[in-house]
């Protein structure tokens, strides 16, 4: 009896619940999600309820999962490895020089004073460089007399004449290079003579075309007004004030821009005033008369100096 009563109660409760559910569904079915007009223009969706939407959501979720599994889990197989390549370009400036340890000029004949002494091919300069470069020569000494004068090693005789001068300018040395400077065509170069390629002039011509660059005893590079063997002051461009990297080994040997044969001349003149001594810009004479007054002449003796060749990255 009790069992029948319980079953009856449960039936009534289920019915109530169903009725409630039904009632709620009815209510929701009356709620339009989109205007009717819009429905017709897009997809034939007549009406929605949450139950239908839930089912649709699940359907599309399953579809998305299927597509995702296929496309994501089975992407095209591939593998890759990498190699890093590092290149270290170290700058190399190499100046090979063939020359005698010492070049001697002995003036023991009057014609040597007049015509001077020339040492042809006394020095050969061979350049190899991985960077753009300049090459210049600078006259230097130990500075015992002065920073821009030869060192006097021996003073001949027992005394000095009234006008005997031991201050022989370093610029009295004349150079001649075999190849012209092909790295000084820039508009900013103001030097009267950009290099030492001018042939030695006659002994009666004094123009400073070959006088050695000197800078107060230092190796400071020449300015735009001075001489270089190759390249020049400034970093504008190769050809304007720089020489391109390269080597005499691959650039055609002695006819190239990397190979220079240097001649030396020293001409005291008579009286010995070294008339070709000029500042490197060829504008300022440095002969003994100009520097010390009329009647001056070089004091006999042994003098020494050195020429320093500097190969430097374009600057």
């Amino acid at each position: 009896m009790n069992d029948n009563r319980q079953q009856e109660d449960q039936t009534i409760k289920n019915k109530t619940i169903k009725d409630n559910t039904y009632f709620k569904n009815i209510q929701v079915n009356q709620m339009r999600i989109f205007p009717k007009k819009l429905h017709n223009s897009i997809i034939p969706i007549y009406s929605f309820n949450f139950k239908t939407m839930k089912r649709r959501f699940l359907v599309f979720a399953v579809i998305g999962l299927i597509i995702g599994l296929h496309n994501g889990a089975f992407a095209q197989l591939q593998d890759e490895k990498s190699v890093s390549i590092t290149m270290d370009l170290q700058p190399i400036l190499q100046l090979d020089m063939e020359t005698a340890d010492q070049i001697e000029f002995v003036f023991d004949d009057i014609k040597d004073y007049y015509a001077g002494i020339t040492k042809y091919g006394a020095t050969i300069l061979k350049v190899s460089s991985t960077v753009s470069w300049d090459l210049y020569a600078v006259g230097r000494s130990n500075g015992t007399i002065g920073p821009e004068f030869w060192d006097q090693v021996i003073d001949y005789g027992s005394g000095s004449g009234t006008n005997a001068i031991n201050e022989i300018p370093l610029s009295a040395v004349e150079l001649h290079q075999s190849q012209a400077n092909n790295g000084a065509a820039g508009a900013g170069i103001t030097a009267t003579y950009i290099d030492y390629s001018t042939p030695f002039p006659a002994s009666t011509v004094h123009n400073g075309a070959n006088s050695l660059y000197v800078n107060n005893g230092t190796l400071t590079p020449p300015t735009v007004a001075d001489k270089y063997i190759a390249g020049h002051s400034g970093v504008t461009a190769v050809g304007d004030d720089a020489m391109a990297g390269g080597s005499y080994l691959t650039a055609g040997g002695y006819t190239s821009n990397y190979y220079y044969v240097v001649d030396y001349r020293l001409m005291p003149g008579l009286p010995a005033i070294f008339p070709n001594a000029f500042d490197a810009d060829a504008a300022t004479a440095e002969d003994l008369v100009t520097a010390n007054g009329a009647g001056s002449y070089a004091e006999p003796g042994v003098y020494t100096m050195y020429v320093q060749y500097v190969l430097v990255e374009d600057q």
């Binding site: 579809i63 197989l77 591939q78 990498s82 590092t86 290149m87 370009l89 190499q94 960077v131």
Partner: protein
Amino acid sequence: MTIQQLRHIILILSLWIISPLSTISQIVCADVEIVSNTGEQADFVFDSFSKYISGITFHGIANVDVKVDDQLPSNPDCKWMLSMTVENNPSAGTAADEWETLVTYGSGSSTPPQIDILEVRVTNICSTSPVDGVYQTFTLSGDNIEIIENTGIVIPAGSCTTNVNGPGSYLTNYDEFHFQIDFRITPGFDYDPGIYQLQVKFELVEVP
């Protein structure tokens, strides 16, 4: 069954049919792998003039060993291609045709090296690469050179001919699946001294 329900069923069935077909076509091999460790660094140090002139060559600096496994059961379409790509870290502002600059020496007025001074040569015993034995150059970052081309057909391992691209391994077909990579650089004298870097990436990929 309503019309709407019928539409849903048709849609689902269509996706079941189309989706697997379109995706399965991309998977033709079980595995592709470059086995050898090529992740090393090749240091080219130019510290003498002779090296600048003659260049530096590293033989076998990167050995690429290929291993491609077929599916079970065997898929007759399993094939692959191998390529290499050069990169110069363009996000750092590197010009497309230049090496990435790490350090510069001095104050030179010249320019960073061009990518095309790097030469890469690929060889193996059977000369399976169309570019086998010939130094190749890249011009721009991202340039790609195919070592084994996508010919569209399967050339099985053991053929010992050009473009062998079937399943196989350097262990069983060493002459075809092992590639020796040589690098050569001849910088010349036109570039700014410094330290520069490039990356060469080897990519193995299956071809549907």
